[in-house]
Subunit: 210 residues, 2 copies
Amino acid sequence: MTTPDAATPRPASSRARILLVARTEFAERGFDGVPLQAIAARAGVRHPTLLYHFESKELLYRAVIESVVGDWAAETERAISTGLLGFEQVAALVDAAFRFFDRHGDFVRIVRREAIEGGGRMEEQMAEFMRPFLEDAVRFLRKEMRAGRLRRHDPVELMQVCYGTVLTYFSDARFRANLVDEDPLSASALGRHKRALLKLLRTALEPELR
Amino acid sequence: MTTPDAATPRPASSRARILLVARTEFAERGFDGVPLQAIAARAGVRHPTLLYHFESKELLYRAVIESVVGDWAAETERAISTGLLGFEQVAALVDAAFRFFDRHGDFVRIVRREAIEGGGRMEEQMAEFMRPFLEDAVRFLRKEMRAGRLRRHDPVELMQVCYGTVLTYFSDARFRANLVDEDPLSASALGRHKRALLKLLRTALEPELR
DNA sequence: GTCTATACCGCGATAGAC
DNA sequence: GTCTATCGCGGTATAGAC
């Protein structure tokens, strides 16, 4: 809901500060990986203070998820309702995802962690937010394919490919850094990957091509 | 290295049994999520026995990683050295990945977990095994593109797309299950996704198409 | 090699003063 | 709202008998 992880100037209220560092900390080390005390310390308070604001570690985590998912929901809402058609809309969405994920690196890793768990801590919460988004997207793709503005592909699987590719690029960026020598999160590397993905999608999706 | 996770008939030695359940257990709940006692119990021994074979939790985990990576290395070796050309080789590799990941669900989640961590527990170990694999693949793609048997795309980014898509399908299968009502790991769902990905790649990569 | 018993500590949570 | 102090559990690891 509130603010992301970049160089935000430290919120005034303890509560907000705690929530902020909790987000990055959980993203980094996972739920069990982070002692409450570490979060409290980095937020400049003692852990009882933290537990005063959020009654338990579990509830703190849920609060983090909520803010994270809220950010995402707000962003996609915008990216999806731009009245664009055909591949232009697809490109716009991919573009929005790249920009959002780039600014919210912790969002990505938290989502990923939850997605892996399966029986995780959010399950419904996440699915709740994602389902309508997916449905909208699928509806759109189907429509455009029928209209002949996109080549026919299975819309659900197409979304899965995009989801997998983009999310992975960010969630596994640190790993990729070990394989190619260039910071995957640098503007240039990021741009190259986005362009490559779009080109791939374009060649596969645009009907009247070449 | 040794054996996978499917319906293998329980190894005779305690050591092997421990290693086996450790693999699935770590995959499921992550390093901090699993008490040694749980692993020991499921392997039919007490935890001191476990610590007799593997000196610490950390070392047990490394042993698991090693076996996991070994399995993967052995498999790709084969899939990559089949002398196929152009899109046929690409398809063969994707196919091999699908089959391998399907049989080694725990492999996928462990790799993913490590990839997210970044400063994780394996870093070098993983990268060591992946780098030559990636380099071979890139070399191959470059060659085929030059020869005109594949359309030109950035080979590294292309690999990233495949890696992201396939790995995600399996690592996030449980999450996907909440969004579409069909078991993502069922033979039919799996086949559909593989075909969709291949079709996408084919339309983008095969030169003399349509 | 496998066990029982136990040491030891990190962590989440509570009590209660300021 | 924030603190100090402390409880109590769960978890890794060790000692030492069989």
